[in-house]
């Protein structure tokens, strides 16, 4: 469920040139066209969608590089 929610946020904020549904959960989102500025929007929209806040220690490329990575970060913050 939460991965679907992540995909929805990515659809709205990721500015991908390809269809997000065609990407696997471990596909590199930056390789798929997500810009650094778009990743800011993705992060803020995820905070809204999951009612959490990404701390400074998580502001790194590896946290937002795939749906699986985002999911793992959200799981950690929600625990």
């Amino acid at each position: 469920m939460s991965k679907e929610k992540i995909r929805q946020v990515l659809k709205e904020q990721g500015k991908f040139s390809t269809d997000i549904d065609s990407l696997s959960d471990d596909a590199d989102l930056y390789e798929a066209g997500m810009t650094s500025h778009a990743s800011v929007n993705v992060m803020l929209a995820l905070e809204d969608a999951f009612d959490l806040e990404f701390p400074d220690r998580m502001l790194k490329r590896s946290v937002f590089e795939s749906i699986n990575a985002i999911h793992a970060a959200i799981e950690e913050l929600s625990a």
């Binding site: 500015k15 650094s36 500025h37 778009a38 800011v40 929007n41 992060m43 803020l44 400074d56 220690r57 998580m58 502001l59 790194k60 490329r61 590896s62 590089e65």
Partner: protein, 168 residues
């Protein structure tokens, strides 16, 4: 073809730089931002977006001319990304955007001020002086940062009393 030795003053300057910082290289970072995307983000996320990316001083510097506000914000974001490229971050190195600040004291050109953890990362990368240039035209803003990187022990200037450090 002209060589550096054809310009005596250049040669002297180059030797001094090598004495101060050790033999090194010049590194360049650049970034381009679509200004309407910044305007959309401000509209969508408001102050939360601004506070995540920019310092109070940066936001104040961008308030001057309303029509240029988004262009100024976009150029500053590009500058932060350009510095990140120079630092050569690994995917697992965290750095908040506010750790890289564009400062513009009255009457001077804009420059970069680093805060932790960017100071530590710059030391680790052997980055010394850096120069910043920002520009915008119509829908796009860009920033270019040029820095020197030492190949031996880094000596980035740091204040012992302040958590921040001028990056120039």
């Amino acid at each position: 073809m002209l060589r550096a030795t054809d310009f005596p003053h250049f040669s002297v300057r180059r030797r001094r730089s090598a004495q101060q910082h050790g033999a090194g290289t010049v590194v360049v970072g650049t970034d381009l931002v679509w200004i309407p995307e910044v305007a959309n983000s401000v509209s969508r996320f408001g102050q939360r977006y601004l506070n995540k990316l920019f310092s109070v001083a940066e936001l104040r510097d961008c308030e001057g001319i309303p029509e240029r506000r988004y262009a100024s914000l976009a150029a500053r974001f590009a500058a932060k990304e350009a510095v990140m490229k120079i630092l050569g971050l690994h995917a697992d190195q965290a750095i908040p955007w506010r750790a890289i600040e564009v400062i513009r004291p009255r009457g001077t050109s804009p420059s970069i001020r680093l805060h932790e953890p960017a100071i530590a990362l710059a030391k680790q990368a052997g980055i010394h002086h850096c120069a910043l240039s920002m520009s915008h035209d119509h829908d796009y803003a860009t920033a270019t940062v040029i820095a020197t990187r030492s190949l031996k022990k880094p000596t980035l200037r740091c204040s012992k009393t302040s958590p921040s450090s001028p990056f120039h």
